[in-house]
Symmetry: D2
Subunit: 345 residues, 4 copies
């Protein structure tokens, strides 16, 4: 049994990690920490876990916690995760960081985007970007995985089949829509029920922090230096993400080539499912699951396509993919403890 800890377990990604790990057949949740709710029962915060969890939230003390665990999940805010990552990594614990602190390859770029000096530039180079479908070999051997952002996950899975085959053309326009849980549990004017309900609006147009992450990783998928336009919007629903990606195809590309690219990419993937030509997903189809559903529309005369992908922002977009990465790191089947996670309604 893999012994796991979650640092920062009261937030939404932390809670979702608890749900998955408490039910995981090959892992046990040994520790859940929380600064604000230290010593309180987990079930007082998440009554739904009644009967599954007797833990109380602990303080994050790496020296003592490290001895009790094999892997640590960091569900801390950006900027705070770095320190914990360094500590646990030094203590020999495998680290899966759900924050953005290790996603950007370059320390200078990190400072520009997140406004902080990075505390461990050499760890930054060592980390593996945890997009499971793309980097599974490196993830298996890694001791520090930077779990991708939700928007980058959905976008990169949308374009990877084309980019890897050299069929992708610029610009890549990503019109993205996310549920509110992506904004975190901390109350604020932007997450007040009355402000969100019956509302819909863009945010971070041209400035969202996930844009450089998307560009950085998209550039590694093929030979194209990508030109990405990314516009996120906030949906009046709790969980779910859908991206509508408008992209060009290399001159001469055929419909068959495009379809084959997606079919081959998804063929052996446990979680990425290609719906086919002109069949499109709803965020409801993947709610509660680690799946990514993809559909495409091709305008071959104009050599362009629309790729529509849906994920659950808390699962494949965060906690589900984190556990998928744990499975990879510990030699388990990738869908271990994740297969039964789904909702039909």
């Amino acid at each position: 049994m893999i012994r796991a800890a979650i640092i920062g377990a009261t937030g939404y990604t932390g809670a979702e990690l608890m749900r998955i790990l408490l039910l995981h057949p090959e892992a046990t949740l040994e520790v859940a920490t929380s600064q604000s709710s230290c010593t309180e029962r987990v079930t007082d915060h998440y009554p739904a876990l009644h009967g599954l969890c007797d833990l109380r939230f602990e303080e994050n003390i790496p020296e003592s916690i490290a001895r009790r665990i094999d892997v640590v999940f960091l569900a801390l805010p950006h900027g705070e995760a770095m320190e914990a990552a360094i500590a646990y990594h030094q203590l020999g614990v495998r680290v899966i960081d759900l924050s953005a602190d290790f996603r950007i390859d370059d320390a200078g770029a990190y400072r520009n985007i997140y406004g902080k000096d990075h505390l461990a530039p050499q760890l930054l180079r060592q980390k593996v970007y945890g997009l499971s479908e793309i980097n599974r070999t490196a993830i298996a051997a890694s001791s520090l995985v930077a779990n991708p952002g939700c928007y980058p996950t959905c976008t990169l899975l949308s374009v990877a089949p084309l980019a890897q085959k050299g069929l992708l053309c610029n610009p890549v326009i990503v019109d993205a829509k996310s549920g509110v849980s992506g904004a975190g549990k901390k109350p604020g004017p932007r997450t007040h029920f009355v402000e969100i309900n019956e509302g819909f609006s863009p945010y971070g147009v041209g400035t969202h922090r996930h844009q450089p992450e998307i560009t950085q990783e998209m550039d590694k998928l093929g030979t194209l230096q990508s030109d990405v336009i990314f516009t996120p919007h906030l949906l009046p629903l709790s969980r779910g993400m859908l991206t509508t990606t408008y992209l060009g195809l290399q001159p001469g590309t055929t419909v068959e080539q495009v379809v084959t690219a997606y079919e081959q990419f998804c063929q052996h993937e446990p979680f990425v499912y290609f719906l086919g030509l002109d069949r499109f997903p709803s965020v409801r189809d993947v709610r509660g699951s680690n799946n990514c559903f993809i559909g495409i529309h091709i305008d071959i005369a104009h050599q362009r396509a629309i790729v529509i992908a849906a994920i659950d922002n808390l699962m494949k977009g965060a906690s589900g993919q984190a556990v998928q990465n744990m499975n990879i790191m510990f030699g388990l089947p990738e869908d271990c403890g994740l297969k039964g996670m789904l909702q039909v309604l």
Copy 2:
């Protein structure tokens, strides 16, 4: 033209007051104050008012504001409104207080319920409780109106027709459900979208502050010393309130007597509408309007009835009734500036 000021205009009841007063044919909104957003444009906070409102939020300085206005609406938190009420009242401005500070008749009871000493016990005795349908004569002559709470408004209108005729019997069980705007604009864990959405729960069971207000006013409606059980619940919607009231009828009461009581009560009311026997309202029917819709089910064999009433908690439950009271105080038709407020969808 009545010149009006709103103190604390950035909150939900304040914003709703702005909407009504800006469109009111016999009133002008001269001043909107806000501590936190002082000097900012109203339309930066409420873009929907674009084209209707050039005001900037001001500081609340009674001495200078009083000279520019005839009436002041206090949309401040409980405890803060008292001071402003005293100041404006002394300066000769008519005051309509939307907080709870003047609703409770007895200063000792006020301290017990709201945990603060009342600053003006003699004003407390002078004020008129602003349930328009019940107290309109006193409101017309008053210089200080305590605008009722949303739950008391919906409950009292439900039972008044029976209580006034002496047909009401104890206990009176009020199962109440309210939309989230009733909890105010301040962000907190209880109003986070993800916590409310797809949720429903009771709160304040046996302890809600509106219970003594309901009891105090119900006792004045007839001769019954009322025994009220009141349970509020939070609905996953922005605005709307529905109360389901289970009550006894005096022995010998007939169906006709009950129906007649409601018909007579509502006959000349511009905003209270009796749907009839076994016809019931939805909160959607009154959304955006100052209306209260009432339906009843009678079990004459057991001498009991169920009264179901719906209001918009921000309108008849707060800002709409406040303007109705202003209309009464200034000799205007009660529905002036309120008649066209409604949504069909």
Copy 3:
């Protein structure tokens, strides 16, 4: 492995049954029938099941299906289920009927309530009412289980601890609120998004078909001939049910007696959880799970109490309890295949 069939699997309770049975460690879903979608893939209707289910919907032909299964779940409309129940029962298959066709003990009463002649009055007497916590011994031995309605389940679990101890007093007022999935998948004006969204209203006041079912079963819990007032309301959310029950206590009842009654009742129950005095559930706490959470408020001076219970109407209120009953019938632990069903968000 228990081999199961679902008759009428395209509806919401059918779909939820598919989800549970496909993941159940001791059961396999052999057959899913649908009249309207015969021969179509299950995953075309419920894409979320992709990767878990290769079945196509079949026609309901009892003679051939009976040979392939051990148990059949009937997720058919009231009136249609009878016929299928008779057929499968005769063919020696254990039947769990999620419709109302076998819930009412008396054929005459059934006709009055559902407007149809019952086709098998003697089976009606033979059936067991499948409220697992109350009738588990009889369920274990039964070949035909009438799965309870969602409202009766939530209500009966609320009052059973008191009724069984003889502490309950009339009247019992049940103010019930349900999510929209309880109204079924068939589109109609009452389930249109625009009519439900931002809405809340009562329905079936004094006339709902679950009232006689509640009364019939409540009478069996103790010695009280119960006097039930039941008012259902429709919540603007997909799944979840909460009942607020106002009831009297026998003269002389103490707070300790009430608390003890609930504690003892829940002590060994896998799914019913007593939150304690003045702690109350939200429907979010039980979403996706087979749990029932109960909290109470006691007014001992007046010898009355408020009991608030929450269930997921599709789980403990329908499909979850049906599988719990299957577990009982086949000698499995009651929470087999149900324990991991839960959502924290």
Copy 4:
């Protein structure tokens, strides 16, 4: 006073028209017809109109209705409106058709898109496309106005300022999101609460009927033969529409030119409001109003821009613009009866 009739008044656009016309200071609603609800009271269908409307739905008999009115609004399904339009037009009544029947200029194209032969090709050529801001002079003189679709309205207002100045470049990618009321009142699987709630998905990708309407009218705005990619999505909310439009700028275009184009376009418009550079609307800002709010982001280095516009699909997207057109046709100020229509919450 303008005497108006609404043909097909029970649907959502019909109901919204009733609300506006009943409150309009220069118009009276004389007739509201409904095939299915003939002779029933309007307020039985829309209780919110209680106190404002004593009408009963009538049968649509042009010969007799025409004598009582000056203008008729057709809120009928596509294909049914044609006949009514022809009849009322012949009887000398001014016609505002909210269906698609007169939007497409060419009868052959109409047949291709809507699958029906057009009954009055010569009227098709005579009609004026009722995008008020673009065609107001022609609308004023017209006896038959084809009220634009909601998506075309939002899109055309987004690009018109650039197109008219010759600054627009292909392709124009319109990622559009609409509330559910746009799908009409008729219940179906696509509008069931449970299917929409917590959901989000595209539909009609590459095939939506509004695409040719958009292209046809965009071509008239400037000299560009437009290449439009249009992808609509369904939002889980009742009313509101937002379009995110990605477009190119003619080589050499400056930021100032773009900003000036929008400022000049909006300067004297009563309903179209330019928020400025990098300020974006929410659908909540325009809910219930006839406004269109527009914000833009410019990437001048790449000579491209993102234009984000929000309207209420039932107001500026349908009934509001229809009344704006009536105002134009009858020489009233354009915002007559529309100015006070707004919600702040």
